[in-house]
């Protein structure tokens, strides 16, 4: 609680670094497991190499990109309805 606020940004950056490394670590493990574990898919495409990973990655990028476009159309000032 008593951490000086000037130190916080670096703390947040440090946390971000740990988080990224942890994610990358898990991603590498999942990549490795792909050679040993047979995943059942509803369709055969789903069983192809790292399919869920690719689907998740691209879906995320797509959602954020569409969100950005949507902002141009349906974002208004905070007092729009007032």
């Amino acid at each position: 609680m008593s951490t000086p606020s000037s130190k916080s940004p670096s703390d947040l950056q440090r946390l971000g670094g740990i988080f990224t490394k942890a994610l990358l670590g898990i991603a590498i493990v999942l990549f490795g497991l792909e050679f040993f574990i047979h995943r059942h898919g509803v369709v055969s495409a789903e069983e192809s190499f790292m399919f869920p990973a690719l689907y998740g990655f691209l879906a995320f990028l797509f959602i954020v990109q569409v969100g950005k476009w949507l902002r141009l159309m349906i974002m208004r000032k905070e007092d729009y309805y007032d």
Binding site: E34, V43, Y55, G67, E78, Y81
Partner: protein
């Protein structure tokens, strides 16, 4: 005697005494009322109370395998809400939330459409006070719009029930086939409360305007009551798969750009309802188990997320992403609970969302509805984006907002702790949940292939987030309003309606003027005739002329009658 009362009714009756009970004792008393109501569930399956009135058999207490899991979770949610609002001295809100939960529980046990209607409306008129309790003008307006939609839903339900009563005389609440006017009316009534696309504006409009504790209560009951009603009335209705799939996918994009974090959760709630609606639409035993299991765990983790955001709002006074950030050191317990809720809703293995959502996804695969399967898979990445990442990230990390605050009151933390414990508990021991589902379950979510698939989807979606943040491509939060389907009646209707109304008034006043001119012209002619007739005496005034005319008419009628 109490055990034969419909569960929930006792909570509504108990709410009447709340104003005279002092604070803290009031909370204990409410927990007692909820426990007493839950005790009624031990009566088990069957029809326990029927009241014949006006030739109709009103089935006030009927229980079966479908109502039980909903009844359990509704009681649990009501109890969590009492604990969460322990600090709150405002008896009006406690009154509203206890009777609201009671009405929702009573609705679960209504065996006919008329009783269902009564409780259906009761949930509307009790819950609206949770929005009004915010005390702002914005909240008041949102509450009125909310009430309008909720009451409309009830009226449609009653209309459908009335048609059924007059045509078949059968108002029992059982499976219906969508076809005639009555079933469509009932379907749309359920659809409003389930926040179908374009009928969903009230949800994102009103829920985030309620008090911090009020939103938690709201998030649990109304929409899940609608899911229960759909599961009982319209299982296996194909159109629900389309509707549900749209519900899972569309709110995702709105949630990305919404700045109010409780409104983000409202969009997320809409997306989650989509999964349940799809499951009801598939209608197989596995799918219906999926819908019920999803509703069950969803109530807990959604309440947990709303509780954590409510705690932030309670402590900081704002819930706008653009004003928050870096609270992880100030509110570490809330942060951990929020992340547990976020991981549950994102369906990480070992968390409750995973064991529930797997049922629906497997049912979709078994039914061979591939397009919907991939839409829901896409929506799963969307859930991770807005509820899994955005909520905890912008509230507790992102940047240092320099806000000085501390942890939320103890009651809030205890409630969050219990909810978080349940999220993990159900995730680790899914058999506990599976044992109360409507159909026997032989399902094992934790096989290696399934777990790695889900982990790949989630971890690589999170990596996409990290990449976007590091490249500074992730959209920053901007103080703003995101237009939703409520725009149609808040802006478009006045925009089109007001000029239209003005035009009608213009035409009307023009017509009136023309008429007045015509009447004046006729009088002018008559005046001239009166003052200078061709023969005979002049007539002294209009009144005399009218009298003369009327007397002449009378004379003619008398002649005709005599003749």
């Amino acid at each position: 005697m109490i055990s034969h009362m419909p569960p929930g009714l006792i909570m509504i009756l108990a709410a009447f005494l709340l104003p005279v009970i002092p604070h803290v004792w009031r909370q204990i008393y409410m927990l007692g009322a909820i426990a007493l109501s839950a005790y009624g569930l031990f009566l088990g399956a069957g029809t326990h109370l029927v009241w014949t009135v006006l030739g109709l058999d009103l089935i006030l207490y009927q229980a079966d395998a479908l109502s039980l899991p909903f009844a359990i979770i509704f009681h649990l949610a009501a109890a969590l809400n009492v604990i969460y609002s322990w600090h709150d001295r405002d008896w009006q809100q406690h009154c509203a939330s206890l009777s609201y939960a009671g009405a929702a529980i009573a609705a679960l046990h209504a065996g006919d459409l008329v009783s269902l209607f009564v409780w259906w409306e009761a949930t509307a008129v009790t819950s609206v006070f949770l929005i009004l309790a915010s005390g702002t003008e914005r909240a008041r307006k949102a509450a009125m719009r909310y009430l309008l939609f909720q009451v409309t839903s009830g009226v449609l339900l009653l209309a459908g029930a009335a048609i059924l009563a007059s045509t078949s005389g059968d108002i029992r609440f059982t499976k219906m086939d969508l076809g005639d006017a009555a079933t469509w009316l009932i379907f749309i009534a359920f659809g409003i409360k389930a926040a179908f696309p374009f009928l969903n504006g009230w949800l994102q409009d009103a829920y985030p305007e309620a008090t911090p504790t009020g939103t938690v209560a709201l998030s649990a009951f109304t929409t899940k009551l609608a899911i229960y009603a759909l599961a009982r009335g319209f299982p296996g209705t194909d159109i629900l798969i389309w509707i549900g799939a749209a519900m899972t996918a569309l709110p995702v994009f709105f949630a990305v750009i919404e700045n109010d974090l409780r409104r983000v959760l409202a969009f997320s709630l809409n997306n989650q309802l989509g999964f349940m609606v799809v499951a009801v639409g598939i209608g197989t035993e596995l799918a219906l188990n999926g819908a019920v299991a999803h509703a069950f765990v969803h109530i807990i983790y959604k309440a947990l997320l709303f509780m954590s955001m409510g705690a932030v709002l309670h402590q900081v006074g704002t819930i706008k992403a653009s004003e928050l950030g870096g609270l992880y050191k100030k509110m570490p317990f809330t942060m951990v609970c929020c992340i547990i809720g976020a991981m549950s809703i994102s369906a990480f293995p070992l968390f409750s969302g995973f064991v529930a959502k797997s049922l629906t996804m497997s049912a979709l695969g078994d039914a061979g509805i591939i397009w919907a399967y991939f839409v829901l898979l896409f929506a799963s990445a969307g859930v991770l984006e807005h509820s899994g990442i955005k909520i905890p990230y912008f509230a507790f990390f992102a940047h240092d907002s320099k806000i000085e605050t501390g942890e939320a009151p103890i009651g809030m933390r205890v409630a969050m702790g219990i909810a978080a414990f349940l999220c993990v508990g159900i995730g680790v021991f899914p058999s506990l949940l599976y044992s109360i589902l409507p159909y026997a379950v032989d399902y094992h979510p934790y096989d290696a292939g399934h777990v790695t698939s889900q982990m790949q989807l989630l971890i690589f979606a999170m990596l996409a987030f990290v990449v976007l943040v590091r490249l500074k491509l992730y959209p920053p939060e901007i103080p703003s309003v995101v237009l939703n389907s409520d725009w149609f009646y808040r802006r478009l209707a006045p925009m089109v309606g007001l000029p239209l109304l003005r035009m009608v008034m213009l035409v009307w006043s023009g017509l009136l003027q023309q008429m007045r001119g015509l009447v004046n012209a006729i009088w002018d002619r008559l005046d001239r005739i009166m003052h200078s007739p061709l023969a005979g005496p002049t007539v002294s005034g209009r009144a005399v002329l009218i009298q003369a005319g009327l007397l002449t008419l009378l004379l003619l009628i008398a002649y005709a009658a005599a003749g």
